[in-house]
Symmetry: C2
Subunit: 168 residues, 2 copies
């Protein structure tokens, strides 16, 4: 959450609510709704770390708006994030851990686990197709969906592999 907020602030000062809306506008059609609280807690951490500054703007009647802007340190931090490649991670897989441990404990048939998981992935793929139909012209959403589909296809291939190895 830190860096997305910094990236948005690179476009100019903004207060929490604006940042939330900007994120929802860009990703809201496919990503789960953002919790407002997280925006504010993250902003206060960024401020604590000296990456953003805070100007209070008085409003009639309402509580003050807090307008955040990037500091030089924040701009540098953001530059580093953009310059560095995003780490790949992704070695740990929840289903695989379940498969291995459930087999070891003798509490499930691996073949059944794999079959059920395959059904779930296929179902998820179909749901992605449905979502894709509702996002007319939204390039960002379309790409996100295709990325998810590619990952699901990789997961399905992996299930096949697991089936072969564990069957033999």
């Amino acid at each position: 959450m830190r860096f997305p907020l910094l990236a948005l602030l690179a476009g100019g000062p903004a207060h929490g609510y604006e940042l939330k809306q900007a994120l929802e506008q860009r990703f809201g059609s496919v990503l789960p709704p953002i919790n407002a609280g997280q925006i504010y807690t993250t902003l206060s951490r960024l401020e604590r770390d000296g990456l953003v500054g805070d100007d209070a703007v008085a409003q009639n009647g309402r509580p003050n708006k807090r307008v955040y802007s990037l500091t030089e340190a924040g701009r540098a931090e953001l530059g580093g994030w953009v310059a560095d490649a995003t780490p790949a991670a992704r070695l740990k897989d929840d289903f695989f851990i379940k498969l291995v441990l459930a087999r070891a404990a003798g509490i499930a048939d691996p073949a059944e686990l794999i079959a059920r998981q395959r059904d779930a992935y296929l179902q998820a793929l179909r749901e992605l197709d449905d979502v894709a139909l509702t996002t007319n012209g939204d390039e960002t959403a379309a790409l996100l969906i295709e990325g998810a589909a590619l990952h699901l296809e990789a997961d399905l291939k992996w299930l096949d592999l697991c089936e072969q190895r564990l069957g033999s």
Copy 2:
């Protein structure tokens, strides 16, 4: 962490240190080392939730060992975990968010970002190959590595897609 511990306890009562060793034995060759603290905090949460019970075992000189075992509720919870498919998730992608926001803020060239990310994925693939050479005969590790490789290949395909769409 909760369910893996429950799954291990399905094989019989054990104390924290044994659970840590069991996990490391199965996954240690490829997954990052487990922090012991997390085992104990998770066990205490499981106990708070009534999923495991705790017998203190006195030891000469040392502090007591705490031997945990599954309760009926814990066994039921574990059964539910095994029976349900693991959710797919994976719509949110850190690199993609970076790509979209950095482009919008005008602080990076999308083509460059993609090129750098591709290099990083290719490098990660090579590193996976290296790790694969060191895990002779460990079926679990081999599968985990092949799964990671499949995901990286999906990521690479996705980068190609992003390049096409953003280039046009």
